[in-house]
């Protein structure tokens, strides 16, 4: 089949070209321009001046908010990853016990995933403010509220998603092994930690990776819940980059340099994950 496809350029045009052209416009060219612009100073696309690494110097030395955003984001990514995965795993373990209603509960837990971050952020903003108003406070009174609020929101959204992956993993663990261990005298706790968890390790690493990347890349929920308020205290990296581009005049080059740094950070996490899973599979 390959040879027939390759022989006639008509097939190249039909099969490959549409996607390739769109990919060029939608990804490759913007990516290339993005790298280039991170070394430039510009206000519009008509007066671009190459200035070397000045933008990057400014990202790391002249921008306190970016550093603050980084630590807020990193802390959030780590805390949310742990919280979401522990809860999702526990829920999945319980929901694979087949008591009455497990299917309904799975359906309910997954539901928040049907909505986008903007809607979720809006809903929780109203809820949190409704509670905090009793104490004469709002969600943006201080950064801690924003952090905890975002954490609750992300737990609510992602527990159902991760639970589905864990349930699938847990269903792949055969009952025979657990039964054999039980006959050998293992208790529930031993079976969970010595048999079930090692066997669902692929699911655990996949979910950990998904939640940590989601944490680092979070934008919509951040924008609609607190918008980075108060005083950029709850502004995460993606929102900080956005605000640098569109909130400050003359800082577009710096914004693009931040975006490149951000890409390298997210990419490094992805590659690390890939390496970790590959080495596990080799064992």
């Amino acid at each position: 089949m390959g040879k027939t496809l390759q022989k006639n350029p008509l097939y190249l045009c039909m099969f490959l070209l549409p996607t390739a052209a769109a990919f060029l416009i939608g990804f490759v060219i913007p990516f290339g321009i993005g790298i280039y612009l991170s070394f430039c100073k510009f206000k519009t696309m008509n007066n671009i001046k190459l200035i070397g690494i000045d933008n990057y110097v400014q990202v790391f030395s002249g921008d306190q908010v970016f550093g603050q955003s980084f630590w807020f984001t990193a802390l959030f990514a780590i805390v949310s990853t742990i919280a979401i995965n522990v809860i999702a795993f526990m829920v999945a373990v319980l929901l694979t016990r087949n008591f009455a209603g497990t299917n309904v509960f799975r359906t309910v837990f997954f539901m928040p995933n049907l909505m986008g971050g903007i809607l979720l952020g809006t809903i929780w903003k109203i809820l949190f403010n409704g509670i905090l108003t009793n104490f004469k406070q709002t969600l943006t009174s201080n950064g801690t509220y924003g952090f905890v609020g975002l954490l609750i929101l992300m737990i609510w959204q992602q527990v159902g998603y991760m639970m589905i992956i864990y349930v699938a993993g847990l269903q792949g663990v055969s009952d025979d092994i657990k039964e054999a261990a039980r006959i050998d005298g293992a208790n529930d706790k031993q079976i969970l930690f010595k048999i079930t968890i090692p066997l669902v390790m692929p699911s655990i690493s996949m979910c950990t990776f998904l939640t940590i990347t989601n944490g680092f890349k979070l934008f919509d929920q951040n924008l609609s819940l607190t918008g980075g308020e108060p005083m950029h205290n709850t502004e995460m990296l993606a929102l900080n980059i956005y605000n640098t581009f569109y909130g400050r005049v003359g800082y577009m080059g710096v914004g693009q340099a931040k975006a490149v740094v951000f890409f390298l950070l997210v990419g490094a996490i992805a590659i690390l994950q890939l390496k970790l899973t590959q080495s596990k599979e080799a064992d």
Binding site: M1, G117, L119
Partner: protein
């Protein structure tokens, strides 16, 4: 002696299981009610006067606070223009997903059957694009799409095809790799050209993957905020997430009532759709989870 104490009879274990199962059902029922509460809250508040929503979102509407269906009327009629946003969201999602499914399945087929340097480069670029966050390309992309006039609901699907190609190509190629070429070769011997072989033989076999990719891309595009916000001519075209964000950040009093009603109009059809397509959605999530 000790052994008889430790080893329970099968009946005893069963009874213990039964009681704990009832406890679990009750506990999870309570959690489920809390889990659903934020969505119910939206529904309740959609019937309240906008001044009472932010003040006390937990209260049920009463004689004094209710506006009956006025929020819904306002959402679809006033300057918020929610209906046209909903229309745009539907157009963008349907056309983008259709375009992505058709083009990337064909492309993945070509790439996995023709082994040359340019298909290899293209495939690895697609994989690479999956780890690039949108912020990296958002500014240049918005400029490129402006120049090419890809800023209307009917043209933005091309942008989604480009930026969404990575995941779809990855999932289709993965499936095609495991598909033995024997069937295709048999079709060829019987006189089928590549086009007919693809559409009559390969495409039907790929149906499960097509559904999975379709679900994943639909969930992404329907809920996407930043890409359409930056690419579309925002004065004329808004999508549902854009409208909901836009009308909170406006000056003056925020029309919370209309926002609540719009959210209900958005959420209800999705939830109904989800209850029918749940099996496929969960399969889609599972097959997409490998992408990262």
């Amino acid at each position: 002696m000790e052994n008889t104490n430790k080893i329970k009879t099968a009946d005893e274990i069963k009874i213990k299981r039964k009681t704990s199962d009832i406890v679990f059902t009750v506990v999870f029922s309570i959690i489920s009610v809390f889990w659903m509460y934020p969505l119910v809250m939206v529904l309740i508040n959609s019937f309240k006067n906008k001044n009472y929503i932010f003040q006390n979102p937990f209260a049920l509407p009463d004689e004094k606070t209710t506006v009956y269906g006025d929020n819904y009327v306002q959402a679809v009629t006033t300057k918020m223009d929610f209906m046209s946003a909903l229309m745009n969201s539907v157009i963008i999602t349907v056309f983008s997903v259709a375009l992505i499914l058709l083009c990337t399945s064909m492309c993945a087929y070509y790439v996995s059957r023709v082994k040359t340097w340019y298909t290899a480069i293209f495939y690895y670029l697609c994989l690479f694009s999956m780890i690039v966050p949108f912020q990296m390309i958002m500014f240049p992309l918005s400029k490129v799409t402006d120049v090419l006039q890809l800023n209307t609901p009917f043209r933005i699907p091309l942008v989604y095809l480009g930026f969404g190609a990575g995941t779809a190509m990855f999932m289709f190629s993965n499936f095609l790799k495991s598909l033995p070429p024997d069937i295709e070769e048999a079709a060829m011997i019987d006189g089928c050209g590549p086009v007919r072989t693809f559409f009559l033989i390969v495409l039907p076999i790929m149906k499960p993957t097509i559904i999975s990719v379709g679900i994943l891309e639909t969930m992404w595009i329907w809920n996407d905020y930043l890409l359409p916000y930056l690419v579309l001519k925002i004065r004329y075209y808004k999508t549902v997430p854009i409208v909901i964000q836009y009308f909170q950040s406006g000056y003056g009093r925020v029309e919370w009532g209309a926002i609540m009603a719009s959210m209900v109009i958005t959420i209800v059809p999705i939830v109904i759709l989800y209850l029918f397509l749940q099996k496929y959605i969960i399969k889609g999530v599972l097959s997409g989870a490998v992408k990262g």
